[in-house]
Symmetry: C2
Subunit: 331 residues, 2 copies
């Protein structure tokens, strides 16, 4: 297990280090990149060499962070994982570095303790929220670029201050970052008011395929491999649509079923506060949280949806329906 | 024109008044209702009689504000309009009271000055943001109910802290309201993560009808009366979909055309920062802002779309296409 550090101890080690390699998790999001970006620019300000590395390409939309490209000849002297809760989240290209991480800075209470040392704030809405305080303690000047990186992390991990993890402190940090020059108008447009064409295409298909069951208390979106491939949607696009069925007024259980390239069916279950998503997923071999869970089902699409409808009926306390009844479509 | 008041003067007048009628604007949104709700509960706390009145029914989703129902026998002693920028925004049922308004509390710089006195903060992102400071000055205890009303106003007028009007102060006020007991988790789910079935239905139809022109720089959604009626969408649902075409990556001009019950075509034009929406709408008899404008076109749907495509081509500096070319659909 990791040695647990205080902020002061972590600062001491960062100050003593050089040639610092910052590692992000695979499928990089705004928080792992924004946190690494802010640290990168802070370390550069302190006169250190640093680089950012991720096993997946950094999406174009984050180009404004101007993250120092990792070069093959960069010899890491100190390795820092940022917002990476466990080794399995590194991806093949970086897990070797992850196993040697000197320090992990994270906000996931579930952090597995794989790094030699750990700086954790499980109360922070985002790792970037926490790193803001760290940089202040370090005496780093929060430039507009650093502020934009940190704002990206805070805003994306909270769904633009909408998710339940948002706290008064999150808003207070956002206010400070805006005052320090975070380009929040550009960032909000880029991060929250823009969708790719494949994302729109898979949204369209999802709405066409959406069916209501149990008097509108359950909504199911089922997507075949062919439909997913036709849309061009990637995993991020697909992740985005899992929120759609639950969002509909009156729906307590929102289910998304996606056929995988292997032929199995990946299931996402989202529920309102009074229904246990994990109970539904767990009985089908999966797991997760009370309001968001998942599982994988082998068999046909009809088999998968019928199994989900049967488990949903138990949680709703109603008589089971079958997908063969077809459900009610959107008009 | 209105007498312009300081906060202290406005507080003096509210303290001296009783039987206070609070007026909201028609098609009430979270800010006019949340502001009126917060004032209602503050005035009640000061031992005064008060009532809230709006020319349209208050949507069910705002029931948690528990706004004092206006009764026919309520004799207003002092009339306060909240978040109403001009007389035309009252609606038939309340404009008579609006014309007699003693005080207007607002954040719209365009306020017409129809009330006897005006308390205005044109810098505030929402009237509710401004009223938070007013209530503090009045020495009112911000109860969880008042905090929820104010949070509703601040969050809805900024699209959950996403729109360009959001300031550091907006976030600071949100942080305070959360600390004071605003039920922000319930409110965020209710206000930002829930869509009506008709809204989903019209979204589906919009995505099906969406066409790209000019190499993807322009996206058009055209909706016939029949399609709108089939979906059951109301004006709020329709307003929501005008953001969709502009949101697509690469799209600089997003156009929505809705056939009206009268047969004419209501047009919404949304543009990226480098294209003038108002120029497009103005040449077709409409107007608006640089990034969001509108107009009404008489004729057929094809005529309307072709006219819009021609004006869009001028702004984009490209050769005009016609809707008969059909555009490219989402896959």
């Amino acid at each position: 297990m990791s040695e647990i550090l205080t902020i002061e101890q972590a600062i001491e080690r960062l100050r003593a280090a050089d040639d610092i390699l910052l590692l992000c998790h695979k499928n990089p999001d705004g928080d792992t990149l924004g946190s690494a970006g802010a640290l990168y620019w802070a370390l550069r300000q302190l006169g250190k060499r640093a680089a950012v590395l991720c096993s997946d390409p950094i999406p174009d939309r984050y180009a404004y962070m101007e993250l120092g490209a990792y070069a093959e000849d960069f010899e890491p002297g100190y390795i820092v994982a940022v917002d990476v809760a466990g080794l399995q989240l590194f991806g093949e290209a970086t897990v070797g570095y992850g196993e040697r991480a000197d320090l992990c800075i994270d906000h996931h209470p579930s952090n597995s303790g794989y790094a030699k040392a750990l700086l954790l704030d499980g109360e922070a809405a985002a790792t970037a929220e926490f790193i803001y305080g760290l940089l202040l303690e370090m005496g780093v000047e929060i430039t507009p670029c650093i502020a934009s990186c940190l704002y990206t992390g805070v805003a994306t991990d909270t769904g633009c201050f909408k998710f339940a993890n948002t706290t008064p402190k999150t808003h207070a940090v956002a206010a400070k970052l805006m005052e320090l020059g975070a380009d929040y108008q550009m960032l909000n447009t880029l991060l929250f008011e823009s969708k790719s064409r494949p994302r729109l295409a898979i949204e369209k298909r999802s709405l066409e395929n959406l069916r209501y069951y149990y008097g509108g208390k359950c909504a199911v979106v089922a997507l075949s491999r062919e439909e997913i491939e036709e849309s061009g949607a990637d995993s991020t696009d697909l992740e985005g649509i899992t929120a759609i069925p639950r969002m509909i007024e009156g729906v307590k259980v929102g289910i998304t079923v996606r056929q995988q390239p292997t032929g199995s069916y990946k299931v996402s279950v989202r529920t309102s506060r009074d229904v246990d998503a994990c109970a539904i997923a767990a009985r089908l071999g999966g797991g997760g949280h009370k309001q968001a869970a998942g599982c994988e089902i082998i068999g046909g699409m009809k088999y998968a949806v019928d199994a989900l409808l049967a488990e949903t009926a138990k949680e709703l306390g109603v008589e089971p329906e079958q997908s063969a009844d077809e459900g009610a479509a959107l008009c």
